[in-house]
Symmetry: D2
Subunit: 343 residues, 4 copies
């Protein structure tokens, strides 16, 4: 039996589920602290005025109309656990009313950074091809097998995008004494310097790096901004590692740059997912493939629930949310990442 | 024409060569600063009293007899660039006379640490099998492909051996907020604490780690000290990464522990090198193979020459060598690593 | 002659001046990029509709009425360079319209942290009294003079408040291997853990620390929250260092705790400033005094101008400000720090 | 009753005592593990052949003759807890026989570094004079009192000498984002780079630093090497902080440089200790005085005993000592620090 005095939370976390994003202990705490109303995300309006009128939080990002929001006078926050912002609610009204829209994408930062680092080290040392050759009995021993091997330590690294993912990359790179240049037009240069990296233009990042990591979100302005010219400007033999969204690159141009031997590359994301069986990237030498697996770890999903609980606890006490990332009035309409349909 | 007033250096760096271990600039400096006598390592005694009498340094570790050493009154140091200490010279006499015997194995620390980290991340995320599956069109997308994936960040890590390799590993792990336990019976616990790691027994390291890195040298006492019992004591699913010498493990027991699914593993070293074409490790699931490639990078070899030059410069000024690692009277006879025959 | 197409900025930075907060180069850039209208802060309404209608930014925090704001349709941000938020404008309207109110108090974080560290080390080692005794010829030599001396390295440290100041303190403490506990009820515990500190209750921070740093802002809820009981709960001989505002402590109780010998203390702030000539803190043994000098360095003021320029550049491009700190709808009315009248 | 099978240790730690350098627990462990023979340091030879013949270690640095050493066939190490090496034993014989001579001076590194940092911050911010003025009622408030104040963060720092003290300084400076240049002619440049500092000449360190820390030992070659010319080459207003031995500077020249207003300074050491009551440094403006108190903390002395126990434990197992610092054959006779007579 639920305590009617508990604050009311509408649960519509699709495509996530509460079981995916909360550990059993966290979900128990959620249910102990709040009245949870599980809702059909396609019919929030149908919940009735009693529920809408009391609702303090929505977990999820169901479509919402201006009319429905009028019926929700106590709403304080929409906690988006999908993490890409859809254009399915009147954000301007939410900002006016001071209803926070927050996302939990930070949970993917560590998993993505670790996979990105693995890719960089694998490209630098030919780890995958060497293991495959060893299986086949064609391995080369010692220095023979290291003709093109090189170190990440002491190298020059470029990072495109310095949000949560870029910061996590910077952290896992901290033991490598690398010189790290960052391009992020949404941040003031002094904040990059405070993080210990060097602010740089995109062309500097491309031309002066041994390893380039791309962790920029797709926006209405940067679709396909990394094309043939960008790859041509990279150092011969440099590594290009794509971790955010395929839409920021011209994928055929990337494959061509690798096929020509100018650069090596790795990617976790593709123009189509899943990819056709005959897609040429499958057989491309000098390319490491990962099937959109960088972030989707169970431990990452479980952190979403922790973040949601921490921020709701702050808001329950009249404080602003600090743990999740808030959507910004200026940029919410610029974000163009496709939502995921599978976890 | 050589300046006869320059200090004399006997060059016998086999299996290395001066061209391997010195950059052109460093070799030019070497030849500008010293008279280099290139010697047959098997016949140092045949060099004649003029050369032996003047020799200040030997680069290499040629066999030396007590009689030959008597003829070398000005010898200050033997700079061993193979880096494993052979039992081919009367070390006791060298120690008595204060002739330094130094090795340059530290050059391999960073390359080995980077490969070790790559192996750990690959095992944690199934990176290699995922790429191979992608080539075949059998890849799993998103969370589907991450059933057993986990993070290094925040995990518990064990390191066996805390010499140059262990320290380099600790450094590349510094961005991962891991709890790191170290077993090294040759170091006082307080020095491990000062390095930010937790001193631990071997059994603690094995039983309490998600990732175990073995970077211990082979000594007369530790041959095969990691066997079936050790692997059984590890956590289910933990990763065992062997980077130093195969002789410290019972290799068949390691393979059995992986084959049973209890642990996953990676190794750069093998009981025989090269390995027979039909060796079962070639097809072993849950095992990453590298053909003794961890250290042998060209950039590492070139650092040897730099180290040699720096320490000879100190000794030229009457100071002790600080850059290379000195052989110790107590332990020189305990070291049992097989020398390499190829670079 | 000013270019009429430049964005218009109203300058009302009192008690600062543009010369105080901008370097000559930065001020030149400001005047090259914007049309600056220097205004009487007490009469913004009198500027006329032409200026108000075009104004994009206000530098300063002049009183503003709702009526005046209606006349400013293009206003994007109020850049408060005093840094304490006064209750002299209708914040709710500003939040509704998405007009950012930002402060530049972060510039004081490093200077305050450095002085706080100096105070902690001085208290731990009796540095000031030792120098004064040396001047007088009554110094004690060597261990004689170190009876109560102790290290910060390896000690337990507590920080109350983890905004910019707390974070800067944590950074300057990073080389001391101290265990750092933090009390900050406005932050989720996981964010403190990510910063490498341990979240703790106020009573834990007080009772388990060798050094307690107070950098919390005054709010409507925490006035005088550190009183006799708090000081009594501290470790015998521990150091209490007050760096934010005197209103968070019961100052007579603090003096009594020091006078009794239970703790030692240092403060940069006082219930009255300046302090009467006969105030007892002037002669108090075990107390280090600083006359509100912690933050007010010229280099800090000059950073204000840099921050203002960086954020206006972002907003000019339609992006949100990232460099300065934004006032929060939930907390703006809770802040109670007295504004400064002198720089 | 002592177990006659325990290894024998001769105790002659003057001017230290066992109670000074061992905690009660450590001394209990010492006595549980070893037979301790407390000896008159001036008459080791008088101990008798039974004791001399069995002695494995000496704690202290009593005078020893070649003849006495002949009677000590089982001696493995002399553990010098005074930490300055006197010329009172035949070091050459000790080196030939492989008897380690080790010192425990590293215990002073952290205390000295912390005091050095306190001095730097005090000089940068005028902390001491400000407190003295506050006692007198002549304090200046806010920016008024900060006319010459500056930050350590982001400054340029020079360190002369990079032994244990220099490294400890580098560590406590790690949170300050300072550019650190080091002059140490006994270390190869690459080791300085690995420690994250920039190798530099003495004149570069002097001319390019805002803060210069001197932690170099006195040797036969460097007596008085920092004189009027050195101070004149420093930046106007820079801070000179002397922490090792007064003999490395021309002390009157240092005072003159401060008196002229060219630099500010602090010192823990003096040409005579104690210093005459009328010595002019007592009243010198711009100078911070400490009466050789930098290292002599009780916690530092107690660490000596821990170091001794850890290294004896290694040597008991046939391993070389790793915790204490070994005297070097090349440099032992160059060291010229005066021994201390008080702790």
């Amino acid at each position: 039996m639920t305590d009617e005095s508990l604050p009311l939370v509408i649960s519509a976390p699709e495509p996530r589920t509460l079981d995916l994003i909360f550990t059993p202990a966290a979900q128990a705490e959620l249910r102990r602290t709040y009245r949870i109303v599980e809702a059909d995300p396609e019919d929030i309006a149908g919940l009735g005025d009693a529920v809408l009128g009391e609702a303090r939080y929505i977990i999820g990002q169901p479509p919402l109309s201006a009319e429905t929001l009028v019926r929700m006078p106590n709403l304080r926050a929409i906690l988006n656990v999908e993490s890409n912002l859809l254009n399915n609610m009147p954000y301007e009204i939410l900002f006016e009313r001071g209803i926070h829209v927050v996302t939990t994408g930070q949970v993917f930062a560590e998993p993505v950074a670790e996979l990105g680092l693995a890719m960089a080290l694998n490209l630098a040392r030919g780890v995958i091809d060497a293991d495959v050759a060893f299986r086949d009995g064609t391995e080369l021993w010692g220095g023979e097998g290291n003709r093109s091997a090189r170190l990440l330590s002491g190298s020059e690294v470029g990072i495109v995008g310095f949000g949560d993912l870029g910061r996590a990359l910077n952290r896992v790179l901290s033991g490598f004494r690398a010189k790290i240049r960052v391009f992020d037009p949404w941040l003031p240069p002094s904040m990059l310097r405070e993080a210990g990296v060097e602010p740089a233009s995109l062309s500097e990042v491309l031309a002066m790096s041994d390893f380039v990591f791309v962790v920029a979100s797709v926006t209405s302005e940067n679709r396909g901004f990394l094309g043939a010219e960008a790859f041509a400007s990279m150092r011969k033999g440099a590594a290009f590692i794509l971790l955010s969204r395929a839409d920021v690159v011209d994928f055929p141009a990337l494959m061509a740059a690798v096929a020509s031997g100018h650069i090596v590359a790795a990617s976790d994301v593709y123009p189509e997912e899943p990819l056709p069986a005959d897609h040429p990237v499958r057989g491309l030498k000098g390319f490491i493939r990962s099937a959109h697996r960088a972030g989707a770890l169970d431990s990452a999903f479980k952190k979403m629930g922790d973040m949601v609980l921490e921020d709701m606890a702050l808001m329950d006490r009249g404080l602003p949310p600090m743990r999740c990332k808030r959507a910004e009035r200026e940029t919410v309409s610029r974000m163009r990442s496709k939502p995921v349909s599978v976890n």
